[in-house]
Symmetry: C2
Subunit: 208 residues, 2 copies
DNA sequence: CCCCCGTTTAATCAAATGATTAACGAAAAT
DNA sequence: ATTTTCGTTAATCATTTGATTAAACGGGGG
């Protein structure tokens, strides 16, 4: 039994197989470039089953998008609203959390950004990111630090920029090949240490 | 004559009309989601003319992508290799240059990143970004500053992150509506001033 | 044993889509 | 004036693509 060879035997239902295949291909190629036949083939199932379980390509995509947003945001809110940590701790926590997440799912940010831009209503139905941020304890601590000298949103952008952008830009920054995958991951690992330091340095520029 | 009403009378050739329409729609929706009929309609020409002038959707796209990459990179190389400026000047120059460019073409980065990822060979034929960076005078000055204490590529990523990411993420960060377009541009304008300061602060963390 | 019902399959459909063709027109060349 | 060339158009083609259908399959309950 080939299945016994893996530690936890995977016995996916047809529905799960479709969803996993769809997640892989949608995130890799985006909604418009994805063919339902490719999903069916990747899942190893008959094309009709896709419509049998999920009604349509659109509906299936919505499931994948909702779960992707959840994956991206889960764990964030509790860090943002932890009353036991100061700003620097939260920044460090976010850095570690997201670099670990994005090393596992490097395509996730570009997927979300592209599909939200293509159809902003996808976001409405799920979460309003900006509100989640601006009403957080994190944001209040940030405001206390910036003291109205500068819009706190600048530092949200800076944080997301130094944290997420390397993954978004990696296809362009890395040479074409795979050779540098390990080096890239090594760089990202280093950034867990540096990002809190850099963020603090940027925030300190206000004291001048 | 309606054409006389605009200052510079626009007398676009059919080929130019197609290219402009294609540029608009490809950048807005991406290659896969773009229909040749939409381009023809936007250009106000017969569908067959698209193939008459550009052979295929693919070939037309390549023209648009090449010009987009050029638009994104033109002006950069001369800043990077200016022998009369120090690192901080170059950073300030890059910030101003790109914020002006991206205020005009906010969709450009996401377009390039998405399409390069979908088909990395598109980059080979044009430029190798990483090499252009690492062989520049800018990079040498950066290396002189970081003094092997940390990989200079970290600061390339930081610079691009704080500079470009806000535009890439704007559909997610801004509420759905248009109401905040002006506010967003105002924030970006402020960043011309702050980015050099933030970058310097991050670079100074090495002296500790 | 057989019937029922959820699942699966192969075949097929209709619409969308990129591309081509043949005819037409008009301006330039002869 | 006639021919040639280039641009343009409407119609059409072949393929792709999302979706549906009717039949077959197969296990559980009666």
């Amino acid at each position: 039994m080939a299945e016994k060879e893996t530690l936890v035997t995977v016995a996916l239902t047809t529905e799960e197989k479709i969803k996993e295949a769809a997640t892989k291909i949608f995130i890799e190629k985006g909604f418009a470039a994805t063919r339902t036949r490719d999903i069916a083939s990747e899942a190893g199932i008959n094309l009709a089953l896709l419509n049998y379980y999920f009604r349509s390509k659109e509906k299936l995509f919505e499931v994948v998008m909702t779960e992707s947003l959840e994956l991206f945001l889960v764990g964030l809110e509790e860090i943002l609203n932890d009353v036991n940590t100061v700003l620097k701790d939260k920044i460090a926590g976010i850095a570690i959390h997201y670099i670990d997440l994005l090393k596992k799912h490097p395509d996730l940010p570009l997927f979300i950004l592209t599909e939200i831009k293509a159809n902003p209503s996808r976001l409405d139905d799920n979460v309003v990111v900006k509100e989640m941020l601006t009403q957080s304890n994190f944001y209040k601590q940030l405001e206390a630090t910036t003291q109205k000298k500068v819009e706190p949103m600048h530092f949200i952008m800076n944080m997301l920029g130094v944290l997420v952008f390397p993954f978004v830009a990696s296809p362009v920054l890395r040479g074409t090949a795979e050779q540098s995958k390990a080096e890239f991951d090594q760089l990202m690992e280093e950034r867990k240490h540096w990002i809190p330091i850099w963020m603090e340095a940027m925030l300190k520029t206000l004291q001048a």
